[in-house]
Symmetry: C2
Subunit: 334 residues, 2 copies
Amino acid sequence: MSNRLGSQTLTFSRRPRVLSSYTLVGPIEGKGPHALDFDEILPDDVLGQKTPEKTERLMLEMAVEKTLRHRNTKSEEVHFILAGDLLNQITSSSFAASTYTIPFLGIYGACSTFAQGIGLGAALLQGDFAEKVLIGTASHYQTAERQFRYPIELNVQHISSNHHTVTGAGAALLGFGDEGPQISYATFGHIVDMGLKDAHDMGSAMAPAAYSTIKMHLQDTGRSLEDYDMILTGDLGKQGRKMLRLLLEKDGLKGLERLQDGGSQIYSEGQKAGAGGSGAACIAVMALGYGLNMLKSAKAERILIVATGALLSALTVLQGETIPCVAHAIAFEA
Amino acid sequence: MSNRLGSQTLTFSRRPRVLSSYTLVGPIEGKGPHALDFDEILPDDVLGQKTPEKTERLMLEMAVEKTLRHRNTKSEEVHFILAGDLLNQITSSSFAASTYTIPFLGIYGACSTFAQGIGLGAALLQGDFAEKVLIGTASHYQTAERQFRYPIELNVQHISSNHHTVTGAGAALLGFGDEGPQISYATFGHIVDMGLKDAHDMGSAMAPAAYSTIKMHLQDTGRSLEDYDMILTGDLGKQGRKMLRLLLEKDGLKGLERLQDGGSQIYSEGQKAGAGGSGAACIAVMALGYGLNMLKSAKAERILIVATGALLSALTVLQGETIPCVAHAIAFEA
C-alpha cells in the first residue's frame, strides 16, 4: 500500500507520535496570551552569551536537551536530527547539532521549517528508516532583525504589517509508543509566488501558499475543515490571516471559525508587535505548546498545523525579486 | 524488515534508480580534465542575466528542465523536488522550484547538499511516499565569492588552500525502472568539528567528517573500500584529500588507491584553482557526470560518493567560531 495520498500528502499508518517536546520563549513572548502553553520562559534574551547568534544556538541546544531528558532518552537512541533556522547557512542548527553524534539533516523552509522537519521525520519513521528522530528549530528577534532588516541599534520604527521575530526554540522527539499525539498526515506544499515584493508584508505573500496547501490537504485526505478542531496556520499575521479567510470563504468552505494563526496570537494587542510573530520558532512553539496542549487536555481531538514560509533573502529583496512562499501541513491526532 | 542498517545507514532494497540526470558547468570547469563528463559546457558564466544570482538560479532551472526532458517526464509526474544551494536562505533553489507546482523540500548541507538530497529522495521512494523525485543543486563562483569572501572586483589573491567555487548545476530524477544506476545505500553523517577555524582551508576541516562517514558506512554495510571501484569524495581538495588518506591509512584500510576527490580533480593543475573545486555543484556534477559515466560505461560496477560540507557562514567566521562539518555517502551500483 502506498504511503502517499493524492498528489502531495504523505500518510502515516504506523502513526508516529510526538514522544516528548520542549518549547522555550523569550521574555516578550512570555508576556503574551500563550505564556502558559510554553514549557519555559527565559529570564532574558541574552542568556549570558556574547552575541544573539550564540543565544539562538544555545536556546536550540536547551530545547533539544530538555526534550531528550523529558523521556530519559539518550542521544544515541536517536537516529536522525532534522533541524533548520533562519540564519544564513542555518548555522544555529548545525552548531547546535554538533553537540551530538546524531546524523544531521539540515532543512530550510523559513518559518515553515518546523513542519517540514516533522513531516520528513514522520516519513523516516513510517518508512522504517529510524525508530526515533529529533526535530528542532529556533529563532531570535535580534539575529533576524540584523540579518534581514536593520541593526537593532538604529531603532528603526516598524510598520503595522511588519512581523516581530519570535525569540524561542522548539524541539520534538518523534517515535513509536503508547503515549503522545499521533501524526497522521503531512502535506508538503509547492511554492506559490503571486508576485508580491513587499518584505514588510510577508503575511500577504504567504497567505496564498497556506491556501494552496490547505486545499490540497483537504482534497488528498477527503477531509473538511470541520474534521479538525483547530487549523493553526503559522505566521500569517493579521493581514495574511484575513487574506487566507477570504480565499477559503470564496470557495464556500465551512468551518472557517476553526482557523487560528500562530503569528497573530502569540503576542497581545498591547504588545505592539505589528502584524504578529514570525520566525522559525513561532509555529514550532505554538504547535508544540498551544496545539499539543489542546490535544493533551482533550480540548481538541484533531488539529492541523499549517506552517508558512517566505523564502526570500535580504539579497533577493535588494535585487527586486518577488517573494516565493511555501506552506506545509501536519495533522496531529489525540 | 527495517530499512536501516547499523546506526547511520539507510538501505534501499527496492533499488531506486537515477532515471535521468543533467550536468552543466561554466567555461572554466569546461576547460578542466572532466569536461567530457558533463552534459553541457556553458559559453559564459552570465547567460544574459543581470546578476550572478539570477545566473545561478537559471542554471539550476536548466538542469532540472533538461533532466525532465531527457526522459520525457512531465513535472506533474514528479512528487517532490529536494533542492538546496549555498546562498543565504537557499534562494537559488526556492526561486528555481517556484517554476513548478512540485512540492518543495529545501535542504542544506553546504557542499554535501547533493548527497543529502539523493539520500532523502531515495528514502521517499523506498518508503513508498513517491514514485519520482527530483534532486537539484547549483553554485556559482561569483555568488559564493561575494557572499563568503570578497567582492570579485577587489581581485583579492587566493592562497593555495583556498577552494574555487564551481560554476554549474546538477539535477537528477530518481524513480523505479529498468535502466539507470541504482542507489543501494545512503549513510548520513553526524557533524564533526575538530576545532579548526581557518575558512581558507576548508579541506582540512572537512576531512575528518569524510573519514567518520566512510568508517560508519563500511561498518554499517560490512563492506570494505575494495568493494567499491571508486570512492569519490566531494570537495576535500588537495589538503583535505591527503588528510583523509592519512586517517584511513592509520586504520590499516586497504584499497586507498580507489579514493578520488571531486574537488581536487575538476580543475587541471594549470588552472591555478588553489586546493581545487568546491560549491554545492562540485560533487553534484562530478558524481552525476564522472561517477555515473563510470557506471554507464562499465568502467565501474560500484561507486561510493562521499559529499562533504563545511557548515560555516560568513558571520560565524567573523565571530571566531569553529567550522562544523558533515559528510553524507551514497552507494551507486551499475
